[in-house]
């Protein structure tokens, strides 16, 4: 019988939630790495027992952990994230040049085929690659050398590369997104990158249609249809049907198009999910009602999903990497909140139940569907 393993990164440690395919009874393991921020954990699609965890601390910097037994035991691997060449500067919040400085890994993306090949998106924004299971890391310098790097500037959370999407149909194509520079794509395995921000509009930059400078919060893709992308931006929900070359807004009837998270149903590539929050300064649901919004039509038409979610006095946020789906039938949707709840829907969003409700603030949620 199939099983589900949910990897939860929080402000103060990691938790692993497991269940059989019924998704009714859950075991909670943790905290692992107690007291440390776990920005992200992700398992290798090629070897689900190989899990990587990005562990960081304002005191002690970055540590990269790896488990080869499904999270039961961990060992520290390499954490030397040295920028290629002379790092140079990027823009600081006040517009002045600021030296490129490594702070932490925000997102880990293992290869779809090779458990020893793994990518890391880091702050200050760059993408690194390891070919030896995380022991050694090399920057893929073509991204920052695209030419716009000195003009990138941090968002409120820092200048992080937070999204990495690997195209399952083309090993040389991948997508990344940086807050607040925008989205980029490589078609040659990371040698060269191009901005893919046409169609995005951001009123907070001098040229709202600029090539870079857009605050992209998250991007999602259905693995069966890799040329179609969905984006939750600082404001606006966007869609691209040509691998990011052009975007169109699909916010439609959402009550607010500000949010962080966006994800796609495992079996229905036109079914997408967002969690709208009130505004860029009020990072909580409208009217204290936690609602996931679902579109069955790839955007524009949205329905609120409320069954089992708190509909009063709820002022949590759902961060950019804190939603994931399993591939069971029916598709399960999972998300974690800054209030420490991890909610799960076993029926594609129709109804929700908390798996746990009192964890530290949740930073990331990833789901593994196991045979």
């Amino acid at each position: 019988m199939s099983k589900v393993r949910v990897l939860v990164g929080t402000r103060k440690g990691a938790f692993i939630l497991t269940s059989d395919g019924k998704r009714e009874n859950w075991q909670v393991s943790g905290p692992h790495f107690a007291g440390w921020e776990i920005y992200h954990m992700k398992g290798s699609p090629a070897d689900p027992n190989r899990i990587y965890a990005s562990q960081s601390s304002s005191w002690s910097g970055q540590v990269m952990q790896r488990s080869d037994d499904g999270g039961a035991t961990w060992k520290v691997v390499g954490n030397n994230f040295a920028y290629d060449g002379v790092p140079g500067t990027h823009q600081w919040y006040d517009g002045t040049p600021h030296p490129w400085e490594f702070k932490r890994a925000w997102h880990i993306e293992p290869s779809l085929k090779n458990p020893d090949l793994v990518y890391a998106g880091v702050e200050d924004a760059a993408i690194f690659r390891s070919t030896d299971g995380g022991q050694n890391w090399q920057e893929m310098p073509g991204l920052r050398k695209h030419g716009s790097g000195p003009h990138w500037q941090p968002g409120a959370g820092g200048m992080c590369l937070h999204t990495i999407i690997l195209d399952p149909s083309d090993e040389k194509r991948m997508y990344i997104a940086i807050s607040a520079a925008g989205a980029f794509r490589t078609d040659d395995g990371g040698e060269t990158w191009k901005p893919i921000n046409r169609g995005l509009r951001s009123q907070f930059i001098p040229d709202p249609d600029a090539e870079v400078g857009h605050c992209v919060h998250h991007i999602a893709m259905h693995p069966g249809r890799p040329g179609v992308l969905f984006m939750q931006k600082h404001w606006d929900v966007m869609r691209s049907d040509n691998a990011g070359d052009q975007w169109t807004e699909v916010s439609g009837n959402l009550p607010t198009d500000f949010g962080f998270v966006i994800d796609v149903h495992a079996h229905e590539p036109e079914t997408i999910y967002v969690v709208p929050i009130k505004s860029d300064s009020e990072h909580y649901p409208l009217d204290g009602q936690l609602r996931v919004y679902r579109s069955r039509t790839g955007g524009n038409e949205w329905e609120p999903l409320t069954k089992g979610l708190p509909q009063s006095n709820c002022f949590v946020n759902v961060l950019r990497d804190a939603m994931s789906v399993d591939s069971l039938d029916k598709c399960g949707i999972y998300f974690g909140t800054t209030g420490g709840q991890v909610y799960m829907s076993p029926d594609a969003g129709d109804s929700w139940t908390p798996i746990v409700r009192d964890l530290p603030a949740v930073l990331s949620v990833e789901v593994q569907t196991l045979a």
Binding site: A34, G35, W36, S57, S58, W59, S60, G61, Q62, V63, V76, N79, N80, F81, A82, Y83, E101, F102
Partner: protein
Amino acid sequence: MIVRVQLPTHLRTLAQIKGEVEVTIEGAATQRSVLNALEEAYPMLRGTIRDQATQQRRAFMRLFACERDLSHESPDAPLPAEVATGAEPLLVIGAIAGG
């Protein structure tokens, strides 16, 4: 010579250490030589006390010994004789800064 080092709780957990650690130093006992020896013995601590790229002490990490704050002394300055002889430990202290 053997130098004693006390680490904050999280770093002891990370390095799977209980209590003090002892590191063997060749040549002069300085902040740099002691931290180099510590990282050699416990590679998982690389980057946690000093930034890996710049080798700068992390802002929330301080180095104390013999009731003195050594944090702002040169990393190549000799440590107090009491530390070099093992009579007193070098204390790596995480700043009291909440969080």
